[in-house]
Amino acid sequence: MGSVMQVVFDAASLGSLYALGALGIALIFGVMRLVNFAHGDVIAACVFVLLWPSVDAVAIVFAGNLPWFLLVPFVLAMGAALSVASEVVVFRRFRNANPATMMIASFALGFVIRYFLLMLYSSRPKSISLLPTLSQPVEIMGARIPLLQVITIVVTIGVLFGLTSFLRRTRFGLEMRAAAENFTMARVLGVRANRVIMGAFALSGALAAAIALILGSQTGTANIVMGANVMLMAFIATVIGGMGSLAGAVIAGFLLGAIAVVMQVILPPDARAFRDAFVYGAVILVLIFRPQGLLTARGTKERV
C-alpha cells in the first residue's frame, strides 16, 4: 500500500510540473500561435534571480534569503516580468509573422537568455538551499512523502482552479479565451490585443517561476539548463493535448508524468536511465495513431 501511494504521489507531482509547463506554453500559443522555445530558459532565469551574479562554484544567495512569503511573490513577479519583457522587446515585432518564424525567434531568444545567465553565473551547476523545510517527509496512508511533493500537487491543483475561474469569471479571462479562438474578431469587438497578449505572457512567466521554485527546492541546485527537460515535456504535452487547448495540455501533462513514473517502476534497473527516451518513444507511438493529438481543441485548428 505504502509503495503504491509513493508511486501515485511521484506521478502526480511530476505530472504537476509538466502540467504547469504545458499550461505556460499553451497560454501563449493560444493567443498568438507562438511555440515559445524560450520558456525553459525563463524557468532557469527565475532560479538565478535569487543569486548574486558570480562565476564561483559556490552560490551567493541574495534574494533567496527572503522569508518564503516574500520569496514566492518575488520569484513569480520576476518570471512574469521577464516573460512580458520578452513579449515587448521581441515577440511584439513578430505579430504578423508566420508561426515558424516566431518559433525560431523564440529559440534564438532562449539561447540569448541562457548564455546571458552563463556569462553572469558560469555554466557550472550551483548548489542552493531553497525553502529547505520542504524536504521533510510527511506520512500519508503509510507512505513517507516529502512535504514538497504534497505542496507541489496542492499548489498545482490550486493554480488550475484559480486559472479556470479566472478564465471563466473575469472579463480579462473572457477576452483571453475569445482572443485565443479568433484574435482578429476579438479586436474588432474592442478587445485590446496588447493587453491580452501581455496578460498571457505574464501568466505564462508566473507559471514558469512556479516551476522554478519547485525544481529549485527539489533538486537543490541552480543550473542554466534546468528548464530544458520540463519545457520539452511541456511541448510534447501541448502537442498531445491538441495545440492550443489549455485543458488538453494539462491532462496530457499529468499523463506524461504518470507514464514516466510508471516506466521508472516497471523498467528493469539497467533501462531506467533511458526512461525519458522510452517516454518520447511512447509519445511517438501515440502520434502514429492520433496525429492531431489525443484531445483536439475545437475551433483552434493549426494554420500550418
Binding site: 525560431i104 531568444l109 548564455y115
Partner: protein
C-alpha cells in the same frame, strides 16, 4: 518535351549555382592553404563542416518548409559511427566494451566511416521520419526536437557502447582540409541535385501550395520523408567528419549548441535557398571568428570549442532575431546565386514567397 529532357534543361539552367558555391569554397580552401597558418586552416575546416550541416538541414527545411530542431541527432549518430569504426580495437575495448565483436575488430578509413555514418543516420531518419512526417508543421517541429532529446538521452546513458557522457577519444584526427572541402562540395551538389529532382520539385510545390499539391496527387508525407532521409544522410556523414576533425565525441558535442549554430546560419542565409545556406555559414562564421578574436584579445585564440563568456552565442542570437524581424526570408530570400547573364535567378520549379 519529355520529362527527361525537361529535367536536363532545368539542370543546365541551374547548374551555375552549385558551381559558384563550390568555387567559393575552393577559394576559401586555397587562401587557407596559401596562408599556411594552422589555426586558420582549422577555422576553414570548421567552416566546411558547418557547410555540410547547414546544407544537410537545408535539404529538408528549405524544400519542405517544416522547421526541424532535430537534425543534429543525425550528426550524433554519424559521429558515433566514426568512433565505433575508426578507433583502434584496443582502445575501443576500454572505452566501449559493449560493442559487438565484429564492430570491435573493425578499423576502416575516415571516408568509409563517413559513408557508414551517413548510411546509419539515413536508416534512422527513415525510421523516425516515417512517424514524424505524418505530423503537421508545428507539431512536426516539436517532435523533431523530441527526437533530438531522445537520441541525446540514449547516447548519454548507454555506457557500454557510447561511454555515456564521457568523451570517446582516439578517433584518428584529420588535419588536412581537402577531404572536408570535397565533402562540403559533394553536399552542395547533392542538395542541388535533390532540389531539381522530381521529388524536390514536388516537395517545394507542396510547401508553397499545400492544397493544390495534395489535390494534384503529391503524397506530401512521402515527399517529406525522402527529403528527411537524404538530409539525414548528409548530416550523418558530416557528423562523422566532425568527429575526425576533433578526434573525440561526446553526446553534448552534438546537441543544442550545434543545433542553434546550424539553424541560425540557415535562417540568416535564407531558409529556402541553397546559396543562402552556404552564405549563412560564411557570414556567421566570420562573425563568430571576429567575436572570438575580440574575446581573446589580439591573438588568434582558436579552439573548436565554444569559449567561455557566451558573448558569441548572445550575438548570434541577436543577429538571428534581427534577421527574422527585418528580413524573415534571410539574406538570400528565395534567390540563388547564378551567372549574371543567366536566364532567371529564380530556383527551378518557381518557388513562391516563403512567407
Amino acid at each position: 518535351m519529355a520529362p527527361r529532357t525537361q529535367r536536363r534543361s532545368v539542370a543546365l539552367r541551374t547548374i551555375s549555382t552549385p558551381l559558384i558555391l563550390a568555387a567559393l569554397l575552393v577559394a576559401f580552401a586555397l587562401v587557407a592553404w596559401a596562408s599556411g597558418s594552422r589555426p586558420f586552416n582549422q577555422t576553414v575546416i570548421d567552416i566546411f563542416l558547418q557547410v555540410i550541416f547547414v546544407v544537410g538541414l537545408y535539404v529538408f527545411v528549405g524544400n519542405s518548409g517544416v522547421i526541424s530542431f532535430g537534425h543534429i541527432a543525425f550528426a550524433c549518430l554519424g559521429g558515433y559511427v566514426a568512433a565505433w569504426t575508426t578507433i583502434k580495437p584496443m582502445m575501443k575495448g576500454i572505452s566501449m566494451p559493449g560493442l559487438p565483436d565484429w564492430l570491435m575488430q573493425l578499423e576502416i578509413p575516415f571516408w568509409a566511416a563517413a559513408l557508414a555514418g551517413g548510411a546509419f543516420a539515413a536508416f534512422w531518419a527513415l525510421v523516425f521520419g516515417a512517424v514524424l512526417m505524418r505530423l503537421s508543421g508545428i507539431a512536426a517541429s516539436i517532435a523533431t526536437f523530441a527526437m533530438l532529446a531522445m537520441v541525446n538521452s540514449i547516447y548519454s546513458n548507454w555506457e557500454s557502447v557510447t561511454a555515456a557522457t564521457s568523451s570517446v577519444v582516439g578517433i584518428p584526427i584529420l588535419r588536412v582540409l581537402w577531404p572536408y572541402l570535397v565533402a562540403a562540395i559533394l553536399a552542395v551538389f547533392a542538395a542541388w541535385a535533390y532540389s531539381i529532382s522530381r521529388h524536390g520539385l514536388a516537395l517545394r510545390a507542396a510547401r508553397d501550395e499545400p492544397t493544390a499539391a495534395a489535390a494534384s496527387g503529391i503524397d506530401i508525407p512521402r515527399a517529406r520523408l525522402i527529403a528527411f532521409v537524404i538530409s539525414g544522410a548528409i548530416m550523418g556523414a558530416g557528423g562523422a567528419l566532425y568527429a575526425h576533425s576533433i578526434g573525440l565525441v561526446t553526446p553534448d558535442t552534438y546537441y543544442l549548441g550545434l543545433t542553434f549554430t546550424t539553424l541560425s546560419m540557415l535562417v540568416v542565409g535564407g531558409m529556402s535557398s541553397l546559396s543562402g545556406a552556404v552564405l549563412g555559414v560564411l557570414i556567421l562564421s566570420s562573425l563568430i571568428q571576429a567575436l572570438r578574436w575580440l574575446e581573446a584579445g589580439i591573438d588568434i585564440g582558436t579552439t573548436t570549442f565554444a569559449l567561455p563568456g557566451g558573448v558569441q552565442e548572445i550575438a548570434l542570437g541577436v543577429v538571428m532575431i534581427a534577421i527574422l524581424m527585418f528580413r524573415p526570408a534571410g539574406i538570400m530570400g528565395n534567390k540563388e546565386l547564378t551567372w549574371p547573364t543567366g536566364r532567371g535567378n529564380d530556383k527551378p520549379g518557381e518557388p513562391g514567397e516563403t512567407n
